[in-house]
Structures are given as structure tokens and as C-alpha cells.
């Protein structure tokens, strides 16, 4: 139907072929290795009342297994509750995050923890902290005049 010169056919075949291969790799990583970006289908009560019911009535860090923690974090204009958590090196942390007002972000540079705190929804992500150090987390979704003042720390302590 549409004529293509030979070189163009080769060009398109190689290009499209690599694209398909690439998408298959991404798909395998997602499907069989469970490497998906943060999500979460759980919803909350009215965002402004979210502190009245579990789990956001008691935000904070909770140990749920050997080396395993759940971090429930509430974001608000312009801060996080709690804004500091401390875990031992090698811990796996399950984050559960929401916002009680506007949309905020929760991003830990140097890791793949990068999620959106959307009011009414609970964003979830799991991260293992293999290296000790003082990690920063920042709000990276514009939320108002104090957006750049909204941050906290994750302290990953060295194992003795």
C-alpha cells in the first residue's frame, strides 16, 4: 500500500524490533519480578478527618517482622508526621502515605521511593535500605508557598 525503500524497511524493522524487546523486558520485570511503581487502591475517609481513624490516627514506624517495618506517614501543609524515622541497616520498610489536605509528594533521593500523596488515597511502596546513612525525604509535588520547606529524614543505623 505505502511504498517504503529497502533501507527504510530495515531501519523500521530494527527500530521496532528493539522497541518490542525493550517492552518485553519491562513487562517481565513488572509481571514476574513484581517491580511496579508505587500504587495502592485503598481509600480513606474525608481527607481532613483522616487522623480520626486507623492507620493515620497513629502515624509512625511499627515493626512487623524481623528487619521489617511499616511506616505510616501523614503529609500536610507543610510537613510530615512523623518527619523522622530510624531503622537499622538492611531493613525493609513498607510505606503507607496519604495527605490530609492538598496533593504532596514523598521522595527519598538515592532510592526508588518516589510517590504521590493524594488526599483520599493511600499510596504504598516497599523499600529496602541496605546502606546506612541519613537519607533525606522531600515533598516533590508543588503544594503551596512552603513546598520547599517540607522534608524529613530517614536515619538508617549501622548494625553493630
Amino acid at each position: 500500500m505505502i511504498h517504503m525503500p529497502k533501507y527504510e524497511k530495515i531501519w523500521m524493522a530494527v527500530g521496532t524490533g528493539s522497541l518490542i524487546l525493550f517492552l518485553i523486558v519491562l513487562g517481565i520485570m513488572a509481571g514476574t519480578m513484581g517491580l511496579n511503581p508505587p500504587d495502592g487502591m485503598e481509600t480513606t475517609v474525608e481527607p481532613e478527618n483522616v487522623e480520626a481513624s486507623a492507620p493515620f490516627d497513629q502515624p509512625g514506624l511499627k515493626q512487623i517482622g524481623p528487619n521489617e517495618y511499616e511506616a505510616v506517614i501523614l503529609s500536610y501543609i507543610f510537613g510530615y508526621k512523623p518527619n523522622q524515622i530510624t531503622v537499622p541497616e538492611g531493613s525493609t520498610v513498607h510505606f503507607k502515605i496519604t495527605s490530609k489536605d492538598v496533593v504532596h509528594g514523598f521522595f527519598v533521593p538515592g532510592t526508588t521511593t518516589n510517590l504521590m500523596a493524594v488526599p483520599g488515597h493511600v499510596a504504598e511502596y516497599t523499600q529496602t535500605f541496605d546502606e546506612a546513612g541519613e537519607y533525606l525525604f522531600v515533598c516533590h509535588e508543588y503544594c503551596g508557598s512552603g513546598h520547599h520547606l517540607m522534608y524529613g529524614n530517614i536515619i538508617v543505623e549501622e548494625k553493630m
Binding site: 505505502i2 511496579n36 489536605d101 492538598v102 521511593t113 510517590l115 488515597h121 516533590h140 522534608y151
Partner: protein
């Protein structure tokens, strides 16, 4: 104008320098759009300069002006206003040029209605940005609530642009009526395709603004569905970037071949390219929401796959353009494998700026693939990498192409000469832009990989070690920003000259439109059967969006109240 089996290529069949004069009425319409867009560039770039200096700690802003106010103005004026006005002006010019040499009266009236609606909308929005009643950035995410005037202004801008789209459709339909057997000229075809894409995508943001945000900001309803508003915004948001890119492609495909003394390589593949953009621009919005709750991973992944389909038209375009250039260079005596490159008109800013734009598009496009790559997005989402990315794509590739267009379009309108001197300045402009952008956009990519968030005023994050290294990178970024601002002053100088001071001339001023290569086959009729493609496009949207939107209604949290957090 001549007619052949290939259809009428809008005067281009005669090749060579066809002098073209616009009807005065068309000329005024095109000029109004261009002038408005130039004003937006100047104001937007001024905001950009202040931002980059503030964020690097060079200056502090006076109490009556804050960073996010500037950033809102910058985003709105450059991403929404400048682009839309320039694109519509350019498309009207080319439609007039290639369809009978002038616009139909209906097209003109629709064009003016669109212009005034968009202009009034812009003025409204800018006023409330200046009074700090709308510092919500150009994405205006709920539940931050701007003044109703901001949303009403946005609605006028969008709906106004639909009138312009109908104006372009009117001119096209008018031409087709008498020439059913021909395929339409490439320029007009592409203008129609661009506007179909725009209409489809902007419908969603119009729904968001008119049915969600305006009633809510007027206090008629108390709560807003945040998840739905974001989904509607991004249904529009990615197609928006192709709405910027496609006019640049039109210039590359249709006008540049004439400037380099070559021919349009194929009459079908460029049309296919535009059709693929119509199909794959909308059902992909979730790639901007990969890290959000409320959307299941499966649907995010499906939309990532659909997003990547854009690689296909991009490969087609790269091949077509290189083939056009190579054939042109060889016909001018270029020898050997790369000899043709030397034969390109590098000293002609109408080509040079666009060539720079194309070169920058190579790394810029590669960056885009990384952004859309599902898991990889977690490393870069909402960091300054993203800002670097669209300063390469939009603020370099698209912008420099539009500048190249202005260097001949203004002269055709004003009958003033783009003198050797101005041409030289324009080349310096493009080089300065490339250097400035290498520093600003390039380093934004690097500091983004180190974690620096986008959309952020100067901050040290409690003097955290990492945040302090970001600030040292920012020094280079700011230096780049200053170069960019100087380059903007340079282009303004060129425009003012072309508008008011350059010598008037009786010489031929070319509105370049390429001729299709004689060997190119007649485009298959199906490519011009728009209803088919609109149908396929809607089907893809239904596949990609029905279930996740249904889930948004099923897992629907109570909406959000209003917040003014600035």
C-alpha cells in the same frame, strides 16, 4: 498553482521561489497571533530568569513577588499561551498558502473569534496570577484552589482554540468540496491532523475546568474529586506536548525541503506519521501518574506500552528528513558518504535554527523514553530531570523551530527583508541558545538524577549534605539561564526589526513549501478518511481508560475541600 495526479501541492509544484503575498485580511489574522505569542515569550522568559537566579541563591525576591507566582506565570505564558498562539498563527498561514492562496471568509471569522476568546482568557489569567490569586502552576492541581477567574480564563483559552480549529477545518472542507479526487496538500493535511489531536485531547481538560473546577471555585459545590481531575488533566497533558511538536514537524516535513533545495521524500509516510500521533497521543496519560495511588499497575503498564508506540512515527520522521537532506545535498554535488552534509545551507538561519532543533531532539527524545519507562520513572519523576527534559524538547526543539519559521513568516507578512545582518544574529541566537540550554537543561538532568525536586524555591533542606550539592549545581544552571535570557533579547531584537525597521523590499519573499518527489506514490485514500482514524483513536481510549476510570468511581474517596496554600 498546478494540479497533478498527486493533488495540488499548494503552489509548490512550481518549485523555485514562488513569491507569495497574503490577502491583507489573512495577514492581519496571522500577525495578531504572532504578536501575542511574542509578548508571551518576553514576559515568560523574564519570569524564567528571575526563577533561575532565585533558586540558585543569587537574588531574593521582594515581598510582593514569590517564586511560585513567577513559576505559574512562566508555565502558563510559555507552555500554554505562547505555543497555542504561535501554532494557530502558523497553521492559518500555511493553510492559506496551500489552499487556494487565501482563507475562506468563514475560516477568518472563526479565526478571529478564537483569537479574541484566547486573548481575553489569557489576560484574565495573567491578572490573577499577578495579584497572587492563582499561584497554582500551569497544571492547577486540585484541591489547591485558584480564583475562579483563573479557571474561566483557562476555559476561554481552550474553547477559543476550538474556534481556531474549526476555522482550519472550514478552510479545508471548502477546498475539498471541489476536489474530492485529490489528496489535500501536505501542509493542510497536517494542520487538520494537528487540530484533530488538539480537539480530542483538550476536550478532557475542558471537562475538568468547566464541570469540576469552575463550579467548585465559585462555591457551588463544596468538594472536588482529586483523582478524577488529575486523570482528566493528563488525558490532555501528554497530547499537549504533541500539539507543540507536530507544527515543528510540519516545518521540517513541508517547508524545510524547499529551503534546502530538495524535495519532500514521500507523500504518504508523513501522513501516516501524523495519523499515528492522533492514535497514540491520548491513551497514554497515565505515564504522568505512574507513582500515584488509585490506578492499578496493569493499566499504567498498558499505557506505557501505548506511549512507546510514538517511537514508530519518530523513526519514520528521522528517516524521511535525513533522506530529504541527503538527496538535496547530493543533487547539489555533495560527494561521498557524508559530503552532502556540507551542502546544506548552514548559513541560512531558516535552516540552521531548525537543524539545531533537530539535533537537540535526539538526546531529548532519548530522555523521554527513559521518563516513560515504567520502573525507571521512579528515579526521575518530579525531579529537575523532567524540567531539563522539556527545556530540551519544548523550550529548544520546538522553540528554535518556531524561531526559524518566524524568520521568513514575518517578512512575508510585512514585506520587509530578513537582511544578512539579521540572519547572522539569528545564527548567533541559535548557538547561544544551544550553549545556554546545554548548561541549564543539561545540568538540570544531572542534578535531577541526584534527587533535586522540580518546582522548588531556594531551599537547603535543613542544610542536608545532598541538598547543598544541588545548590552548587544550580550555579551552572543559573549561568545557563542568563545566556538563555540574552538569547531571548536577541530574538526580540530580530523580531522588532522584521516588524518595524528592516528595509522594505520589492524582492521576492518566499513562503517556502516543498515539492513532493516525482517518484512518490499517490497517498492511499484511507489516510484522508478522518472518521476512520477518529474511530480507532476513540477505541484505543476506551481500552486504555474505561476500567481505570470506572475504578475511580468505585473506589471513590470523599472529595477534597478547598485550599489556598500560598
Amino acid at each position: 498553482m498546478s494540479t497533478t495526479d498527486l493533488g495540488v501541492e499548494g503552489g509548490g509544484e512550481q518549485a523555485a521561489l514562488t513569491d507569495f503575498k497574503f490577502d491583507r485580511k489573512d495577514s492581519r489574522l496571522v500577525m495578531a497571533h504572532l504578536l501575542f505569542s511574542f509578548g508571551a515569550v518576553f514576559l515568560g522568559a523574564t519570569a524564567g530568569l528571575l526563577q533561575v537566579m532565585q533558586r540558585s541563591g543569587w537574588i531574593t525576591l521582594p515581598p510582593w513577588l514569590n517564586y511560585y507566582q513567577l513559576l505559574t506565570a512562566h508555565g502558563v505564558l510559555l507552555a500554554l499561551v505562547f505555543t497555542t498562539f504561535f501554532i494557530i498563527g502558523y497553521l492559518f498561514s500555511g493553510v492559506a498558502r496551500t489552499l487556494d492562496g487565501k482563507l475562506s471568509p468563514a475560516a477568518r471569522v472563526l479565526g478571529w473569534i478564537g483569537f479574541y476568546m484566547m486573548a481575553v482568557g489569557t489576560v484574565m489569567a495573567v491578572i490573577v496570577i499577578l495579584t497572587n490569586d492563582a499561584s497554582v502552576l500551569y497544571t492547577f492541581y486540585a484541591p489547591m484552589q485558584a480564583s475562579p477567574w483563573f479557571y474561566i480564563g483557562a476555559a476561554l483559552l481552550i474553547v477559543g482554540s476550538w474556534f481556531s480549529a474549526f476555522g482550519i477545518f472550514a478552510a479545508y472542507i471548502n477546498w475539498r468540496r471541489t476536489r474530492k479526487k485529490h489528496s489535500s496538500p501536505l501542509f493542510a493535511y497536517m494542520a487538520v491532523a494537528t487540530m484533530i489531536l488538539w480537539l480530542h485531547a483538550s476536550l478532557a481538560v475542558a471537562v475538568e475546568v468547566v464541570f469540576q473546577l469552575i463550579p467548585w471555585s465559585l462555591g457551588l459545590v463544596a468538594r472536588v474529586d482529586v483523582g478524577l481531575s488529575r486523570a482528566l488533566f493528563w488525558y490532555f497533558g501528554h497530547a499537549l506536548v504533541y500539539f507543540w511538536l507536530l507544527p515543528a514537524y510540519i516545518y521540517w516535513y513541508v517547508n524545510i525541503p524547499q529551503i534546502v533545495g530538495g524535495k519532500i521524500f514521500s507523500n504518504s509516510l508523513p501522513r501516516l506519521t501524523f495519523i499515528l500521533f492522533i492514535l497514540f497521543s491520548v491513551p497514554v496519560g497515565f505515564h504522568h501518574q505512574l507513582n500515584e495511588p488509585g490506578i492499578e499497575s496493569f493499566w499504567k503498564f498498558l499505557q506505557v506500552v501505548l506511549t512507546m508506540m510514538v517511537v514508530i512515527p519518530s523513526l519514520l520522521t528521522a528517516f524521511s528528513l535525513l533522506a530529504t537532506f541527503e538527496l538535496a545535498g547530493r543533487s547539489r554535488g555533495g560527494k561521498g558518504l557524508f559530503g552532502w552534509i556540507k551542502k546544506m545551507p548552514w548559513k541560512d538561519a531558516r535552516f540552521f535554527s531548525a537543524a539545531m532543533a533537530m539535533l537537540i531532539f535526539i538526546p531529548a527524545g532519548a530522555g523521554g523514553i527513559i521518563n516513560a519507562s515504567y520502573q525507571m520513572n521512579q528515579v526521575v519523576h518530579n525531579t529537575w530531570w523532567v524540567t531539563g527534559h522539556f527545556h530540551l524538547t519544548l523550550a529548544s526543539t520546538v522553540l528554535l523551530t518556531f524561531f526559524a519559521i518566524s524568520y521568513w513568516l514575518i517578512p512575508v507578512l510585512t514585506r520587509r527583508e530578513f537582511t544578512k545582518h539579521l540572519n547572522k544574529l539569528a545564527i548567533v541566537q541559535a548557538i547561544l541558545w544551544a550553549i545556554g540550554m546545554f548548561l541549564m537543561g543539561g545540568i538540570m538532568h544531572i542534578v535531577g538524577l541526584q534527587g533535586a525536586p522540580r518546582r522548588s524555591s531556594y531551599a537547603t533542606y535543613g542544610d542536608h549534605e545532598l541538598a547543598l550539592t544541588w545548590i552548587s549545581y544550580n550555579q551552572v544552571i543559573a549561568a545557563g539561564g542568563v545566556l538563555l535570557f540574552i538569547a531571548i533579547l536577541l530574538v526580540l531584537y530580530i523580531w522588532v526589526n522584521l516588524l518595524y525597521f528592516a528595509p522594505r523590499t520589492e524582492k521576492t519573499i518566499e513562503y517556502p513549501v516543498g515539492v513532493v518527489n516525482e517518484q512518490a506514490e499517490h497517498p492511499p485514500k484511507i489516510l484522508e478518511r478522518w472518521s476512520v482514524w477518529i474511530g480507532v483513536s476513540i477505541a484505543l481510549v476506551l481500552i486504555a481508560y474505561t476500567i481505570p476510570i470506572y475504578q475511580m468511581f468505585m473506589h471513590n474517596p470523599p472529595g477534597s475541600l478547598t485550599y489556598r496554600s500560598w
